[in-house]
């Protein structure tokens, strides 16, 4: 449940990167994500998906990551998004 294995974490990081919650890996260095950065990314993903914001790759979060979806990222870098408005 709250103790994902290396495979889940690796797949989760790939998912979070693909959909804009983590910055893309730098092809020139082996930059690591900090644990805090990863936790914040999971929280943002959970908030976006309407899940409880735990910051943990729990069962519900992993299940949501496996749901069919659109290929485009959820979070677009601010430089590209000029007029974001929330009600």
């Amino acid at each position: 449940g709250g103790n994902p294995n290396g495979r889940d974490i690796s797949a989760g990081m790939d998912w979070l990167t693909r959909y804009g919650y983590l910055p893309p890996p730098d092809p020139y260095s082996a930059q690591q994500q900090t644990l805090d950065g990863l936790r914040e990314a999971v929280k943002t993903m959970q908030k976006f998906a309407g899940l409880k914001e735990t910051g943990i790759l729990d069962k519900e979060t992993i299940a949501m990551m496996h749901k069919p979806r659109c290929s485009l990222p959820d979070i677009i870098p601010s430089g590209y998004q000029r007029h974001r408005r929330k009600r």
């Binding site: 294995n5 290396g6 495979r7 974490i9 690796s10 797949a11 990081m13 790939d14 990167t17 693909r18 959909y19 804009g20 893309p24 890996p25 730098d26 092809p27 020139y28 260095s29 082996a30 930059q31 690591q32 994500q33 908030k47 976006f48 998906a49 309407g50 949501m64 749901k67 069919p68 979806r69 659109c70 290929s71 485009l72 990222p73 959820d74 677009i76 590209y80 998004q81 000029r82 007029h83 974001r84 408005r85 929330k86 009600r87």
Partner: protein, 442 residues
Amino acid sequence: YAVSGSVWQKRDLSWRVESFPISLSQEITKQLIESALLAWSRESNLRFYRTTAEDADLRVSFLGGPHGDGYPFDGPGGTLGHAFFPGIGASAGATHMDADESWTYNEATGTDLFAVAVHEFGHSLGLTHSSAENSIMKPYYQGTVGKHQNYRLPPDDVEGIQALYGKLSPSLDATHDSITTAHLTLFSYTGRKIVHPAEKAPPAPTQRFVPPRGPTYRPGLPHPDRCSAHFDAVSSIRGEVFFFKNRYFWRVQATKQLVSLNPAHLGHFWRGLPPDLPRVDTVYERGNDSKIVFIAGTNYWVFKDTVVEPGYPRSLTDFGLDTDGVDGAFVWKHNKKTYFFQHNRYWRFDEQHGRMDPGYPRDSNLWLGLPPDVDDVISWTDGHTYFFKGAQYWMFRDGNVEAEPDSPHSITLNWMYCAVANPPEPTQLPEGRDQRGCTCHC
């Protein structure tokens, strides 16, 4: 709702379906696409008309697997579709659906094409993903939305499209109603083209270029695929495992987590190796001072952290090795000695005294169960020794010199987290040819 920052500079947009799914007829597919567009035009000043012209503004295709835009499809489930935001460029207005989905409509089973198309056209018109509860622009597939003829956009999406293109003006309302009627009558499709008043004046193209988003907006470098790589070297450094292939490497942390599925560039992390060095043969962390030794051919370099020490490269003869190179090297935790492997022989080096131990080389089959010509060896933080060759690895528990009976295991499955356990054998075929000998023209 959230917007991308780019919009169509015109209100009359042409569309066409360029390819079709196998699970729905062409007629039904066109009806559903047209109905999905109608969902957006019903609430805004936008109008859509079908065309057979190749330069249609909105182009719908059903494609499978990788198709050249950086958003590969993944078979049934997973990713269903994507669309490119408005702008100038070959991709703008392109809407791609995964051809491997079981496309249906108004059914509990399969994937509802109408629902996905409404979502993707939201992107084509300039909207991005929304976290709003009922929005069609939520990124996750939410199932069928029922009869497409009766579908109306949720309020959040209505506000979004009206913020971009304005509300449906009363002067156009009557025209729109007639168009709506015309569209609906096409549900018994006749194949005739809708002639829209706007067709008389060719629409002006937008002047703003918005690059495609996602994996493609970062400049990509050609790099090896971790799932099909046979690694040049595998090394345990500072508790992590490094997998080297050509001029790239992957890192696996002590928790067995891959730092990134994409490799990092060798020369920009390990500073001081020759820029034209095509690959390394082995790397190991020295037992006496924790410096890191890179070996390629008959040369070696010593690194302090990630920077090479002055005076390198030097020759392997410094170790007393009179060979044309080594396949693998590692420091065995159980005696702190450094072992070098080449073909079916191995040597033992005493780092403390800087000399090769007498009685070596020996036959590597003293490591029971080990094949000849290994790619590399590590002694990891879990106390076990791992030998790597091709797509497989052999585990020697603790200080044992006999492989575990269930060895070998798959590197790609257990270290690289790939779906396929056994990648194809390396081929001598030139670039651009696959394993079957087919020439790729992509």
